[in-house]
Amino acid sequence: MTDVRELARAFRASVPTDDPVEFLRARFDAGLAWVHYPAGLGGLGLPREQQAIVDEELAGTPSNDPRRIGIGLGMAAPTVLRHGTPEQRRRFLRPLWTGEELWCQLFSEPGAGSDLAGLATRAVRDGDGWRVTGQKVWTSMAHRARWAILLARTDPDLPKHRGLTYFVCDMTAPGVDVRPLRQLTGEAEFNEVFLTDVFLPDDLRLGAVGEGWAVARTTLMNERVSIGGGSLPRGGGLIGMLTSLWTDRPDVRTAAAHDEMMRLWVAAEAARLTGVRARQQLAAGDPGPEGSAVKLAFAELAQRITGLELELRGAEGLRHDDWTMRHGEAVDFEGRSPTYRWLRAKGTSIEGGTSEILRNIIAERVLGLPAEPRTDTTVPWRELPR
């Protein structure tokens, strides 16, 4: 069996770290990017948990900002790996991992949020490629992305799940128009993307025509695993900001708020331990549905904690830091004002699958409760009410 620690040490000893991109390319080529990927594609075909050893050995060397390459890493890469042609894998995975080419996601539409499979963006055959027209939304990083994963409807006469095809969209192609979408926080973390007659050659299709939904499931499964996957120390994160306020500011303390804060501390610690246990299960090769529990709980906690913080601050809670429109690129719960935190937390129960959809998934897939009667999965998409 490969001793990855040895490999990583040898790699570190042999490769100069002067140029970050050169270093990352070399690391990819050495199979130390994601060791559970196949050899030749940045990995060594090893168990996923061995990555931690590599990361430990290469600590301090050039690395990617996971917030910049997050969508590529968490969603595009596993999909390209599983459904891409050998050529597509070779073309996309290396610059994706090194961060030379950023990715975004073109899934949601104004009319297809929770009901993603109902989307209306059309892709029509045109010679040896496709013409794509439609409107996508909730696209972070679209203004910086080189590529996008794109789900489009290729046959409106089939039932909705069966008429979809999955593409890689060239974000530099003519007809791609990215506009910032301002949120209630005042900034634009996301974009709207308007696609007008965008030409995509057929070699940018990922998976077979009409198989888009199956391909998308790979993407979404990986999205859910990655959300809520971070580990915090006890009392860290938002609850830590609240307890710090309590500790530092005797003037905000009240008897009623004390118990409320402790309720939140207990809830936060219970959610944290659930995440710890979920990761232990994953490491033991037995991934369970606990990730959904973690995401649901995090959203509720984030909202309650930040709401209580505003109440404790009283008059301070009436003032915001800044409404200037800017292009935020990542959620910043720590660097901004308490009002920003409170506002931004409202998004945690919407983005990446609403809490309502997560509860449906838990009820049907985990608890095995029967599905509701559905009328939208058997008729042609064209005939559905919209």
Binding site: S114, G118, E311, H320, L343, K346, I350, T354, D376, R386
Partner: protein
């Protein structure tokens, strides 16, 4: 106490809606001068609580509560709470006869110069001039007259007079902008003792803010119900999904309760002594109940609209920010529960 709306109130509501509906939608600059003019001069609603002999309508805070409800529903950016409710109540209790007629005829807009949340500020009196600083004062940007408590008395200060600086702050609720007021040897005219005037103004303000919160909650519920009726996902309106139904039913129950509570509070402060034990109990109850209900209704509005509810473009966030700031401004629900406990003699733990 009658908790229903009278026929006169329903008629007033109709007039208000006709006026406000057409003006809704551009609250970003925090003050709609034209609507304010129509409200004060045409409809005369700033004079509702002012006695007839001082040029007002001689109605009561009950009718003013109805105005608050509609202003909350449309989120109209006008200083009604600060001027027509709190300043007018303070002036009435202080025995003013000079400013009230000018408020009644719409020629003057007054604001109580106290922080919108937290303790009253600290202003010193020196040789008849006022010096001090008041943070996060509501409804003062459009005011001509500031009513400043200082040294135990209430003073009239010209808002654009010498020694007065008003600095707009970045407010969480952009539809009710706050300012910091700095007074530096600003000339003031003594009106009367501050404490009873301030107490009554705060009680009336808290009681009527509940009606505003009711209006906010009603808008949020109505808007969400309408969206749920028409937004199609999975081939059917999302409002046909039972989980959505039940949550909206729960919001409806709490909004229905808010209506009863807000009417009760408005009635309770409309009596002879607006700062007696019963009005104070009613105001505390109203803020303890109606504030959280408005926040919850606004949160459900954002959540059930999904992504669109999280955008700047959709007005839901304006209601969310209004709901949250009002639930803090004249005391949090927790603070009002403490106050209620005191009024009811339900002593906290540790006290005998």
């Amino acid at each position: 106490m009658n908790l229903l709306y009278s026929q006169d109130e329903e008629a007033l509501r109709d007039s208000l809606r006709d006026l406000l509906r057409t003006r809704a939608g551009s609250p970003d600059d925090g003050f709609d001068a034209e609507v304010w003019r129509l409200l004060t001069v045409e409809l005369g609603v700033t004079g509702l609580v002012i006695p007839e002999k001082l040029g007002g309508a001689g109605a009561s805070l009950r009718e003013a509560a109805l105005v608050m409800e509609e202003l909350g529903r449309f989120l109209t950016p006008v200083p009604y709470l600060g001027c027509a409710v709190m300043a007018v109540t303070a002036l009435r209790v202080a025995g003013d006869t000079a400013i009230l007629p000018r408020i009644a005829d719409g020629s003057v807009c007054a604001a109580l110069a106290v922080p919108f949340a937290g303790p009253a500020g600290d202003v010193r009196v020196t040789d008849g001039t006022l010096t001090g600083r008041l943070e996060s004062v509501a409804d003062a940007l459009a005011a001509d007259v500031l009513l400043v408590p200082a040294g135990g008395d209430l003073y009239e200060v010209a808002a654009d007079g010498p020694g007065v600086t008003r600095t707009p702050v970045v407010s969480l609720d952009v539809t009710r902008p706050l300012v910091d007021v700095a007074l530096s040897a600003a000339p003031g005219r003594r009106i009367g003792p501050a404490r009873p005037a301030l107490g009554a103004a705060r009680t009336a303000g808290a009681a009527l803010l509940a009606s505003e919160q009711l209006g906010v909650a009603e808008w949020c519920l109505d808007t969400t119900v309408e969206y749920a009726r028409t937004r199609i996902q999975f081939g059917r309106p999302i409002g046909s999904f039972q989980a959505i139904k039940h949550r909206l039913a729960d919001v409806w129950v709490s909004v229905t309760q808010s209506r009863a509570v807000a009417r009760f509070a408005a009635g309770a402060v409309s009596g002879a002594d607006p700062d007696g034990a019963e009005p104070r109990l009613a105001a505390a109850l109203a803020q303890a109940h109606c504030g959280p209900v408005a926040v919850r209704a606004a949160e459900e509005c954002v959540q059930l609209h999904g992504g669109i509810g999280f955008t700047w473009e959709h007005p839901a966030h304006l209601y969310l920010k209004r709901a949250k700031t009002t639930s803090i401004a004249l005391g949090t629900a927790a603070a009002h529960r403490r106050q209620l406990a005191g009024l009811l003699g339900l002593t906290p733990a540790g006290t005998p």
